[in-house]
């Protein structure tokens, strides 16, 4: 539990390993800074090492860069979704798609959705200012919010006509965001300033998700598994607390939002009740009435980038690499 590794101790083996793998890569024609190439060509280990230390730093920056780009992609998606719902999208087609449901959203809820959209727009601007790149050149028209990739109306089509389904979709988007940021936190330890910014955005997404749960419960007839405390109760599709009979494909999609990632050991189902090897339900001093659901609610679970990509891909017309 204690972190006793020195900085040099952590970096040195990494640099040494990279020296070997990079040399192989260079043989295969990978680009490398001229200083490194010169150092390797001269078989001068000190020169190559010194230069690769810099390259190693650049490599770390690239990993952080990947996270920033990934976060920007998700934030653009969320921002454009809410803009379409509110009728403020730069795309007439997106605004038109949500005309019916927009008229049904109560004014108070519209104000709350406006506050959420404001934050998503701020996240986009902030990530761009932090160096994130819109790799896919996403615009308002890059998305199909029915989840059909622009080919045919997808399983979330009802979000354009039914307030309850719209809020269910928004909740799934926010909870996906929470799981996505959480999953990337360990990839940001090399840059604690970025890590802290990411954590601060992460908790705002959680506030959004909680508010949407409360709106669903208060306005849209959601069941008591959609907690007034805003927390995620249980896992898999049932954790979404959908009302009515959503299309099978929507249920499957919600199953991914609240289920386990491909690497279930590191990215567990939201129904997970064991944390750090400790079974929450077996802890001492738990109050009377503490249930399995209580244990699932008390901890949120991360997802990997690949898991998140699988969830959001149907809403993107372009293929996410």
């Amino acid at each position: 539990m204690q972190n006793t590794e020195t900085i040099l101790g952590a970096i040195d083996p990494e640099v040494a390993e990279r020296l070997v793998t990079r040399r192989e890569a260079i043989r295969q024609g990978a680009s490398v800074s001229s200083t490194v190439a010169a150092g390797l060509a001269m078989a001068s280990v000190p020169v190559a090492l010194a230069a690769l230390s810099k390259d190693a730093f650049a490599q770390t920056t690239t990993t952080v860069q990947d996270v920033l780009n990934f976060a920007l992609m998700l934030e653009i998606f969320e921002n454009e979704f809410y803009k379409a719902v509110l009728g403020t999208s730069s795309s007439t087609a997106q605004n038109t798609a949500f005309t019916t449901v927009r008229a049904l959203v109560p004014a108070a809820a519209r104000t709350s959705l406006g506050q959420i959209q404001k934050h998503e727009a701020q996240h986009v601007a902030f990530l761009l200012s932090a160096g994130a790149v819109n790799v896919l050149n996403l615009t308002a028209d890059s998305f199909d919010f029915t989840g059909g990739r622009g080919a045919a109306p997808g399983p979330f089509l009802a979000a354009t006509t039914d307030v309850a389904f719209l809020l269910l979709t928004a909740q799934a988007a926010e909870d996906t965001g929470v799981r996505a940021y959480k999953g990337q936190a360990p990839n940001l330890v090399s840059n604690t300033a970025v890590l802290e910014n990411a954590l601060r955005i992460h908790s705002v997404e959680a506030r959004h998700a909680a508010k949407i749960r409360r709106m669903r419960r208060l306005l849209a007839g959601a069941p008591s598994t959609v907690r007034f405390s805003g927390t995620v109760s249980g896992g898999d599709a049932s954790a979404a607390g959908a009302t009515g009979t959503p299309p099978q494909a929507a249920v499957a999609a919600l199953g991914l939002v609240y289920g386990a990632g491909t690497d279930a050991a590191n990215f567990p189902n939201e129904a997970n009740t064991t944390q750090g090897g400790i079974a929450i339900g077996n802890l001492p001093n738990l109050p009377t009435g503490f249930s399995t659901n209580s244990a699932t609610e008390a901890f949120d679970e991360p997802l990997s980038r690949n898991d998140v990509r699988t969830i959001v891909q149907p809403f993107f017309k372009v293929t996410i690499p």
């Binding site: 360990p186 330890v189 908790s203 705002v204 909680a210 405390s229 927390t231 750090g276 738990l286 949120d300």
Partner: protein, 269 residues
């Protein structure tokens, strides 16, 4: 600092306080006198242990230079939250609350007790700090009615979010992930409590229907509150919610943060 030249010890427990020792030393320096009232001397009898041994658990020191220390810092905050919601659910006010509020406070109690017990178990008895004692008179005042309960809850939840957001950079690997699993739950709680107060007409720095993530806790870059441990400790101390004195012994290691600290409104509206 007082310039009195006489210090009166009225009760034996005072002898254990830092302030008393400081005053003794100061008076030695200025040629002052120390008066002990009869109660102090009476307690010197061998059949009376009141005052002649340290009271239990008057202080807990956090050493934040290690990840264990940071987890203990989280454990301290979770102890505070768990103690409060346990008392809320047991209070006479609880039965008068709406079904919605009863559900929320029962959830919050369950989650915070789980966080407390989980952190305690994860830290292991060898490394966990002692159990903290709450200042019951402050708690009793906070538990007086629905509105004061909600206000105190908002204070605790927003402070918890700020604390975890500030502490993340001192953690790595599994510890960072576990803290991340908890902080989003604290943020959900904070949003729920703020939303409930919003509906009751309390705006305080945020527009109506936006308090769940109001402009008072989310900055113009869309970022939530963040506070360093020293600032969080200071707020806990000024809220006077602990009888145990919480001290920071060693500071966290130097790590780049996201910029200036951004705390929730203090005092809570």
């Amino acid at each position: 600092m007082s310039d009195r030249k006489t210090f009166v010890v009225e009760h034996p427990a005072q002898l254990w306080r830092t302030e008393t020792r400081r005053e003794f030393l100061r008076l030695l320096g200025v040629g002052g006198s120390i008066v002990m009232l009869p109660a102090v001397l009476a307690s010197c009898g061998d059949d009376d242990d009141d005052g002649m041994r340290p009271p239990p658990n008057t202080g807990v020191t956090l050493n934040l230079s290690t990840e264990t220390g940071i987890l203990n810092y989280a454990y301290a905050l979770e102890q505070l939250e768990a103690a409060f919601y346990t008392q809320v659910v047991a209070s006479s006010v609880f039965g008068t609350l709406t079904a919605e509020l009863q559900e929320v406070f029962t959830d919050l109690r369950n989650h915070e007790v789980a966080h407390r017990e989980f952190l305690k178990a994860a830290l292991t008895p060898a490394n966990a700090i002692a159990s903290l004692s709450v200042n019951q008179s402050t708690f009793t005042t906070a538990l007086a009615n629905r509105d004061s309960i909600l206000k105190t809850s908002e204070q605790f939840e927003d402070l918890g979010v700020a604390a975890y957001n500030g502490a993340g950079k001192y953690l790595t690997g599994t510890n960072l992930m576990l803290a991340g699993k908890i902080v989003s739950v604290e943020a959900r709680h904070a949003a729920a409590i703020r939303d409930i107060r919003d509906a009751l007409g309390i705006t305080g720095g945020a527009g109506v229907n936006t308090r769940f993530a109001g402009d008072d806790v989310v900055d113009s870059n869309g970022r939530d509150v963040v506070l360093e441990p020293a600032n969080v400790r200071g707020r806990v101390a000024s809220a006077n919610v602990l009888s145990t004195t919480l001290t920071i012994g060693t500071n966290p290691p130097t790590r780049a943060g996201s910029g200036a600290e951004f705390g929730p409104p203090n005092p809570t509206p």
